[in-house]
Structure formats: C-alpha cells, structure tokens
C-alpha cells in the first residue's frame, strides 16, 4: 500500500499479486473444486482488487480485505451454480463430488479425496471457517476480521465442522 500511495500503482499491484496469488488460488479452489473455475474467479478477484484499491481505507488489514473479496467471489459463484443446478435437476453437491472424482489435477490419496468431499457437505459458513482454520491456519481473530463474525461463533462453527468431517472419515478409514 505504501508503494501504491507513492504513485507506484503498477508495482504495488504486481507485488500484491505475487504475494497472494497462490494463497487465494487454493482458498478459492477448495470451494469450487475445478482449476478452470478457480482461474476465472482468481482473475476476477484481482481485477476487483485493482479497481477497488483507491477506495481501500486501511481500516482492516490488506490480507483480510483480499481474503474477503476472494471469498465473496467464490460464494457468489457457488450461489449461481446452485441456481443453474435447479434447471438441470442436478444438486450442487453431486456436481462438486463429480468434479473432485474427475479432476485431472488430483494427485492425492483416497483419504484426501474423501476429506474434500466431506468438506463439500458442510453448510457454507462451516466450510469457510474450516478451510481458513484447518488449511490456512488463520487465528480466530483473523477469521473474524475476514468474515465479520465473532470469534466465539467461529469457534463453535469450526467445532461442528471438525466433528462432522472426522465422523465422515472415520466411517470409511
């Protein structure tokens, strides 16, 4: 942001993209389960960030602001996909499971596959909290800044999500 305020906007944006592209990629990928969709959403996220940088008031940290934009992009995408699923009569869960099973970039084992499928079964909020806490290892305070929810409520959401996923995995392994 210092570079940006000093008028070096292109350099600032390049530095921002360099710092956050992988982190944001995996954050989005855990929601949409497809490289192509993730790529589109990631590009849209950074374009939105670029367009909104003038208005960034620095009352929150840059990384929580970026996470929030990426999260909203992913959630809007999932919402639209759900509506399209009503027309094709295929529930969103089935679409996402199929994408996980057929993903050509999948290089994990069965346990990892079942974990990602179990995550897709969670309600959106629990999924978000679980991903940010389990994979990104953010603190509850950091997640609270991103999601604008109290840390106490986040701890409860994470606990429920954790128990559900653990039970799913222990049924099979």
């Amino acid at each position: 942001m210092a570079l940006y305020r000093a008028g070096e906007q292109e350099k600032a944006f390049s530095a921002l993209v360099q710092s956050y592209k992988e982190r944001m990629y995996w954050h989005i990928r855990r929601f949409v389960c497809s490289h192509e969709d993730t790529d589109d959403l990631l590009q849209d996220t950074f374009i939105k960030i670029w367009n909104a940088m003038d208005g960034f008031r620095e009352d929150s940290r840059l990384f929580t602001w970026i996470y929030r934009i990426a999260t909203n992009e992913a959630l809007n995408f999932i919402r639209k996909k759900k509506i399209r699923g009503l027309l094709t009569m295929e529930p969103l869960d089935n679409v996402l499971y199929r994408q996980i099973d057929e993903d050509v970039y999948f290089n994990g084992n069965e346990l990892q596959r079942e974990l990602h499928k179990a995550i897709q079964k969670l309600p959106q909020k629990q999924k978000l909290v679980f991903n940010l806490r389990y994979f990104d290892e953010l603190s509850y305070n950091e997640i609270s800044e991103i999601l604008d929810t109290s840390p106490g409520s986040l701890k409860a959401s994470y606990h429920h999500a954790y128990i559900k996923i653990k039970a799913e995995l222990e049924k099979k392994f």
């Binding site: 592209k21 990629y25 490289h35 027309l87 970039y105 994990g108 346990l111 389990y134 392994f173």
Partner: protein, 140 residues
C-alpha cells in the same frame, strides 16, 4: 482440544493439510501476464459492462418455461389416457344413476307421451304390414 486426540484422523494424518491437486505447468509463473491480458480485454470491451436485464432474468424465465411445459405435457397425457368412450360412459353412467333400483326396466320407459302415443290406425297399418291375418282383428 479435539485436535490433540490420539485417535483423531484429522490431526494425525499429516497429508490431509496438503492440497491434493496440481496446477498446469507454469500456471503461477504466467498468472500475472494472463491477468494483464484479461484486464485489458475487460476494460477494452466497453460494450458489456452491464449484464442486460434479460440475461439476468433468463435462468428464472427458463425455470418458469420448464414448469409450464411440464404442466402442459401432464395435461395432454391425462387427456390421452382417458379415451372418449370413457367420457361418454360417464354420461350414460350418470343416467344409470337416476334409474330407481326397484324398477330397472324404467330405463326403457319413455315419459314423453306426446310422441309415443300410437293411434289405432297406426297399429292396424303395422299389423297389415307385418302380415297379420285380418280375422285376428275381428276376434279382438
């Protein structure tokens, strides 16, 4: 607390924290360049800044059209399942319902006396036509 349990699969299986996906070769290295291209395309094209209202509504219109088609198809199917004879039978059944149970032959009675009244002349004409012997008339 739950993450420290000895039998906790989520805590113990270390590979679970890693993302089990690869990306296309050079994806992250070329991302910034691809992003510039996309940004130029989006800003270069002034035509589609706003999604037309119709495109926003089209998923809902498609849903409404689908339900209308299903309703029309269902109605047509019901009409084709019930043949016309059955419909006529409904009509005759309704008349049957009116016949008193104690007098089933009432079905054949006509209550329109004006039209059913036969004169003696009509009767004689019929009997002659039928070949009835004239002597039988006198006997009567």
């Amino acid at each position: 607390m739950m993450e420290n349990s000895g039998k906790d699969i989520l805590a113990n299986a270390k590979e679970l924290k890693q993302m089990p996906y690869s990306t296309p070769a050079g994806y992250f290295e070329n991302f910034a360049v691809d992003l510039r291209k996309t940004e130029r395309q989006k800003h270069g094209s002034k035509v589609c800044l706003e999604m037309p209202v119709f495109r926003k509504l089209s998923p809902y219109l498609a849903m409404a059209a689908m339900f209308a088609v299903i309703a029309a198809a269902g109605t047509a199917l019901m009409r084709s399942i019930l043949p016309q004879d059955d419909l006529q039978e409904y009509g005759s059944m309704a008349y049957i319902d009116l016949i008193p149970v104690t007098e089933p032959d009432a079905l054949y009675y006509s209550y329109n006396y004006e039209f059913d009244e036969i004169s003696d002349d009509d009767l004689i004409e019929y009997l002659i036509y039928d070949g009835t012997d004239l002597e039988l008339f006198n006997n009567e």
